[in-house]
C-alpha cells in the first residue's frame, strides 16, 4: 500500500497543476471579447455536430418532398434538386466538416512537429535533407497537389482526404517547430542537461517538447481553419466522399445540379448561401480563437 501512495499523489499533483494552469489560461482568455465570440460559435457548431441526429428534422440522405422547394415552416432551408432537406444536410455536414478539419489538423501538426523537432535537434545533414524536402513540398502549389492526390488515391473516402490535407499542409508547422527547437536547444538548461549526461531522447521529451507545445497548440487552431477550407474546396470540386456530405459537398451539388438557376431562372439562394456562410463563420471563429491563444502565449502581441 505504501508502494502505491506516492504514485497516486503524483498523478493528483500533476492534475492539480494542470487545472491551475488551465484556470490561469481561462482567466486571461475571458478578458478577450473576440476570443469569446469565436469560442461561442465553435461550441455551438460542435454541439450541433455531436447532437446532429437529434436536431435535424429529416434524414439528409433520403427524399422528403418535391425538389427545389423554397424555405418554409416545414423545410427551414428548402429542399435540393432531389428533394432532400437542406437544413438537415447542413446539420449533418457540420459533423463531416469539423471531423475532417480537426483530424487533418492533428495529423498535420503531428507530422510537422516530428519533422521540425528532428530537424532542429539533429542539425547537420539530417536538418539539411529534411528542410530541403520541406521546401519542395512547400513550393508545390497545394491545391493542384491536393486535387492530384485525391484523384489518384480516393475520391470515395474522407480518410484519404484527411491524409491528403495533412501531407500537403505540414510544412509551415515543421519550419516553425524547427526554429523554436533550435532556440530552445541553445538555452542554458538544455546545455546543463547535456552536461549531466542526459541523452537526446530525454532532452527532446523533457525540455524541447514541453516548451514548444503551447506554440503547437496555437498553430493547430489555425491548421483546423486551413484544413476546413481545403476540405470545402476539394469537396466543391467534386472530390469529396459522397457517403459523407460536408458543407463543401452541398455547394458542389448546388453547382452541378443547377442551383444557380433553379429558382425560376434565378439562383436558389437557400441552397447556396447557407453553406457558404457556415464555412465563413467557422473559419472566422477559429481564427479569432487562434489569435486570442497566440496573444496569451506570446505576450509581445498583447501590447498591440
Amino acid at each position: 500500500m505504501t508502494e502505491k501512495k506516492p504514485a497516486v499523489s503524483r498523478t493528483r499533483m500533476r492534475l492539480d497543476q494542470l487545472i491551475k494552469g488551465a484556470r490561469e489560461f481561462a482567466a486571461i482568455y475571458r478578458s478577450s471579447t473576440p476570443g469569446l465570440v469565436g469560442l461561442a460559435i465553435l461550441m455551438f457548431l460542435v454541439l450541433t455536430a455531436v447532437f446532429a441526429p437529434y436536431i435535424s428534422p429529416y434524414d439528409p440522405y433520403t427524399r422528403v418532398d418535391r425538389p427545389l422547394r423554397p424555405p418554409s415552416d416545414k423545410y427551414l432551408l428548402g429542399t435540393n434538386d432531389i428533394g432532400q432537406d437542406i437544413f438537415s444536410e447542413l446539420i449533418y455536414g457540420t459533423r463531416v466538416s469539423l471531423t475532417i478539419g480537426f483530424l487533418a489538423a492533428i495529423f498535420t501538426v503531428v507530422i510537422g512537429t516530428l519533422v521540425g523537432v528532428v530537424s532542429g535537434f539533429m542539425g547537420g545533414s539530417v536538418d539539411e535533407v529534411l528542410m530541403r524536402f520541406t521546401d519542395v513540398i512547400m513550393i508545390l502549389p497545394s491545391i493542384p497537389l491536393l486535387i492530384l492526390l485525391m484523384a489518384i488515391f480516393g475520391r470515395q473516402s474522407y480518410l484519404i482526404m484527411i491524409l491528403a490535407i495533412s501531407i500537403t499542409g505540414w510544412t509551415g508547422t515543421a519550419r516553425m517547430v524547427r526554429s523554436s527547437t533550435m532556440s530552445i536547444e541553445e538555452r542554458t538548461y538544455v546545455e546543463a542537461s547535456k552536461a549531466i549526461g542526459a541523452g537526446e531522447g530525454h532532452i527532446i521529451l523533457k525540455h524541447v517538447l514541453p516548451n514548444v507545445s503551447p506554440l503547437i497548440i496555437a498553430t493547430m487552431i489555425y491548421q483546423v481553419a486551413g484544413a476546413m477550407m481545403s476540405e470545402a474546396g476539394l469537396s466543391f470540386l467534386g472530390l469529396g466522399d459522397p457517403g459523407h456530405k460536408s458543407w463543401g459537398m452541398v455547394l458542389h451539388y448546388a453547382q452541378t445540379s443547377g442551383g444557380w438557376y433553379a429558382n425560376q431562372g434565378y439562383p436558389a439562394w437557400w441552397w447556396i448561401i447557407p453553406p457558404g456562410l457556415l464555412i465563413a463563420f467557422t473559419v472566422a471563429s477559429l481564427v479569432l480563437i487562434g489569435q486570442t491563444m497566440e496573444e496569451i502565449i506570446n505576450p509581445r502581441l498583447r501590447m498591440r
Binding site: G124, E191, A192, A195, G197, A198
Partner: protein
C-alpha cells in the same frame, strides 16, 4: 608539490570553429591537470577561452548561432587514463553527470522554467539508471537538504521562478552532485549572484567538496574567489595558458606580466597599496591571430623577440611555470 593521484590531464588541447571551410582557433596548446581532492582554478579575462576549455573537457560544446559552425577538438583529455576525445558518444554521455559534472554560470537560466525543481534535480539519476520514483524523490530531497535548501520536501514540486538566484544555484549544485561524481567543473558559479549570496555559495562549495570528496575545476575571473578556493591556479589569456603554479606562487610572486598587471589592478585588503594600475590596451577578441607572444601588444616589457617568437611554458622555479621570453631576466 601537488599531492594526490592525477584525475584529469588535458594535453595540448586545441579547439577551433570550422567556419565556412576555415578554421578559427579559439584555444590552443592548453594543457592542465587536476589531482584528486584538488580545487584547480582557471582564471582569465572574458573571452580568453575558459568556458570553451571546460566545455571541451566535458564534450558539451554546442554548435552556436544560425550558421551552426562545427567545433574541431584536437589533443587529449585523459580522465583516469581514458582519453575522453576517443570514446564513443554514448560512453561519454554515461560518464557525464556520473563521473564528471558541471555547474553553470547562470543558475536561473540553467533550470528549465516549466519543469518542477525536484524532477530537475533528479535528472542525472534519471538519465543514468532505472530508479523507482519514490527512491529518487528521497534521494533528491536528501541532496537538496545537503545543499541547505530550506524546506526541500515541501518545495519539491515548485517551479524555478519560485526560487531566488542563490537557491537556484544550490539546486544546480545538488543536481550536479546527485550521482556522486569525482570531478565537478564549476563555470563561474558565483558570478551571477550578489555578494552575500556569493559568500554562502562559496562556503557551500567548500563544504560539499570535502563531504563528497570532489575534485573541482573552478573557472572564474574573480581573483578573490580563486585565492580563497583553489590549491592550484592556471592563468589563461587569449586562448592560451600563460602561467600556472600553486595558489601562493601565483599571488605572492606572479611572473607573467599579465598576471602581475592583473594583481596590480585589483584592490587587496592586506596591502598598503592604494593605487590601482590598469593595463594599457584592449582585450583581444577571439579568434586570436596574434604572432609571437599573445600578450605582446599590451606588454610593457615587450622586445622584438616577443613579437615573433611564441614563448613556451617553462618552469621558472620549482612548481611554477610561465610562458614568457623574459621570465628569467627579472
Amino acid at each position: 608539490m601537488r599531492v594526490g593521484k592525477e584525475l584529469l590531464r588535458v594535453k595540448d588541447l586545441k579547439v577551433s570553429l570550422i567556419d565556412g571551410g576555415g578554421y578559427k582557433t579559439i584555444i590552443d596548446d592548453v594543457s592542465l591537470s587536476i589531482h584528486e581532492g584538488e580545487t584547480v582554478g582557471l582564471i582569465g579575462p572574458t573571452g580568453s577561452g575558459k568556458t570553451v576549455t571546460a566545455k571541451a573537457i566535458l564534450g558539451v560544446l554546442q554548435p552556436i548561432g544560425a550558421a551552426r559552425p562545427q567545433w574541431s577538438i584536437e589533443g587529449e583529455v585523459l580522465y583516469r587514463g581514458r582519453d575522453l576525445l576517443k570514446i564513443s558518444g554514448e560512453e561519454f554521455r554515461r560518464l557525464r553527470g556520473d563521473e564528471v559534472s558541471m555547474i553553470f554560470q547562470k543558475p536561473a537560466g540553467s533550470l528549465n522554467p516549466i519543469l518542477e525543481v525536484g524532477e530537475q534535480t533528479g535528472e542525472p539519476v534519471d538519465a543514468h539508471e532505472e530508479i523507482e520514483r519514490r527512491r529518487l524523490r528521497e534521494m533528491v530531497i536528501d541532496h537538496l537538504g545537503r545543499v541547505e535548501l530550506p524546506d526541500a520536501g515541501r518545495r519539491f514540486r515548485w517551479f524555478p521562478h519560485q526560487f531566488s538566484g542563490g537557491e537556484a544555484q544550490r539546486i544546480m549544485i545538488a543536481s550536479a552532485l546527485i550521482c556522486n561524481p569525482s570531478l565537478v567543473v564549476a563555470d563561474e558559479p558565483t558570478s551571477d549572484l550578489d555578494v552575500t549570496v556569493q559568500r554562502q555559495v562559496l562556503e557551500l562549495l567548500k563544504r560539499v567538496k570535502g563531504e563528497f570528496g570532489l575534485s573541482m575545476l573552478l573557472i572564474t575571473h574573480d581573483l578573490g574567489v580563486i585565492a580563497e578556493m583553489s590549491d592550484y591556479v592556471y592563468v589563461m589569456y587569449a586562448g592560451r595558458i600563460i602561467e600556472h603554479g600553486d595558489v601562493y606562487g601565483i599571488f605572492e610572486d606572479p611572473t607573467h606580466p599579465f598576471t602581475r598587471g592583473l594583481l596590480r589592478s585589483t584592490p587587496r585588503i592586506d596591502s598598503d597599496r592604494f593605487e590601482l594600475i590598469d593595463m594599457p590596451g584592449e582585450l583581444p577578441q577571439p579568434p586570436y591571430d596574434i604572432p609571437g607572444c599573445v600578450f605582446h601588444p599590451r606588454c610593457s616589457q615587450v622586445t622584438d623577440a616577443c613579437r615573433e617568437k611564441k614563448p613556451v611554458l617553462t618552469e621558472c622555479r620549482p612548481g611554477h611555470h610561465v610562458a614568457c621570453l623574459r621570465a628569467g631576466e627579472t
